[in-house]
Symmetry: C2
Subunit: 293 residues, 2 copies
């Protein structure tokens, strides 16, 4: 793919950054901010097309002013610049970003100079709440600093419209489902209330990626999202929420897709899974092929 950069979409994938976790700790207080900065630095260094986050960017549903301020500072520093964005968005931004206060993608805003777009879903830690269903990542979206998608307003059905991204000969349909309470999502899938919309023409020519933020490991009968619930036209599922890093794509033969689980970018608990080396993934897609580095 290296020899066809104009046809290769390069995506830096990270999840569960939990920014603000232990921010008052004298020793580890800066860890989450430093890690976010490293991720943004890597996005810049590797000249990715965009950064894709799998939820729980913030550790808390209502992060401190200091925490939000640091995230704004870091994103403004690393992502607002003159770098040209080299992909096109063919889907209707009003649909994919319809549940935000700016139903548009940030890098096309003539008032903002976005060099590294960030696409993110929300996690269970930074989920929407209150009457207007606003979440902490909405602040970043409203500033024009990230693109928040996969946010649903309905509790009775879930309609998932993809971002249709085209770079040269490569076409990627990117589906996002922000964190939904496990039992509810389980029920929605069981009752056939989840609809994935596919591109109208040549659907099979699109490389399909979904990013979800749910339990992957079974927690009781309905407390997780079984992989086989997800549609088998998907090529890659990026799994957020699970904290152990399994960045090597894992083949699911019954669904014929790969699962990529970046794991949290910082350790938030003393479990074995958290002791595995942390990593972010560089996902490269060219036409219907991909690789992860």
């Amino acid at each position: 793919m290296d020899n066809e950069p104009d046809n290769t979409l390069r995506i830096l994938v990270a999840t569960d950054n939990h920014v603000g976790y232990l921010e008052k700790d004298g020793l580890r207080g800066n860890d989450t901010f430093t890690t976010l900065e490293e991720i943004l630095f890597l996005a810049q260094k590797h000249k990715v097309d965009f950064l894709l986050l799998g939820g729980d960017l913030f550790h808390e549903n209502r992060p401190s002013i200091y925490c939000v301020n640091e995230v704004l500072r870091l994103i403004r520093t690393y992502c607002l610049n003159d770098r040209p964005v080299q992909f096109e968005l063919l889907s209707d931004a009003k649909t994919t970003f319809g549940t935000t206060s700016f139903p548009s993608v940030n890098y096309l805003d003539p008032n903002l100079n976005v060099g590294i777009p960030i696409f993110t879903i929300h996690g269970n830690h930074d989920d929407p709440s209150g009457p207007k269903n606003v979440c902490a990542p909405d602040l970043l979206h409203s500033s024009g600093f990230v693109n928040l998608f996969g946010k649903s307003e309905s509790v009775e059905a879930l309609e998932v419209s993809p971002l249709l991204i085209k770079k040269g000969s490569t076409k990627v349909a990117l589906y996002g489902i922000g964190a939904v309470r496990e039992e509810r999502l389980h029920r929605l899938f069981r009752n056939n209330k989840v609809t994935f919309f596919r591109p109208e023409t040549d659907a099979n020519q699109w490389f399909s990626v979904a990013v979800v933020h749910q339990n992957r490991v079974r927690h009781g009968p309905t407390g997780y999202l079984p992989e086989h619930f997800l549609p088998d036209f998907l090529d890659v599922v990026i799994w957020g929420h699970e904290h152990d890093c399994r960045i090597e794509p894992e083949w699911n033969s019954s669904q014929s897709f790969y699962v990529l689980q970046p794991g949290s970018s910082v350790a938030t608990s003393l479990i074995n899974g958290e002791a595995i080396t942390k990593a972010v993934g560089l996902l490269e897609i060219r036409e219907l092929q991909f690789k992860v580095r």
Copy 2:
């Protein structure tokens, strides 16, 4: 002044917006957001050079996510655009904005298209707190949506460097002092620990404006800022914090300056002062003359 627009600095002055006040109230919940939108609309309609806020933009030190989101949405909608900014900043932004995470003025950032700059100090409601001394208006500054000045890090002295603003033949030195606990500020003035820096050359050719956010009415011996504490080289003092609207400039003959007290833009208490009609002021300055409309 109308016939010399290129030499007349037009400033929309408002204060104590208390955005988020009673946001959960079914009847009045939207009032503060609507009022902020009206102010931004007026700034646009009257083609002002900038909007100057006197503190307490937010009602709470830690506003809700919804509240911050609405403020970001409104400012992005009204203030980010192609309108050319027609004044120059001659002072060093690193000094005036040195206590923020972006020691620069937003409209000169090549990555942001700021059409209506906002300058603001913090009030006692949205004051800095915590180890890093961050306040809610910092979020707006870090987004590049406002310019937060008048924030001091020292409790033992107060050094006030002006923003030096030039438009044609008009030169304005704008001093800001964010809310300081009344007793402390009183003591600082009594002990000669407050220094106002003046322009190095032709100081008297600069029209001097200060914006403060303190009690103007006496509350016990040290619980207010006596007008005569302020230096007499000032031409106009814009007084935030006091909620009654006294938008007509009031002459202080001992100090030979005018005091302009816009009052809060929304009623937050059932006192007589709050029953006076609310207003914002359009301050026009040409060389050493001014008027308020």
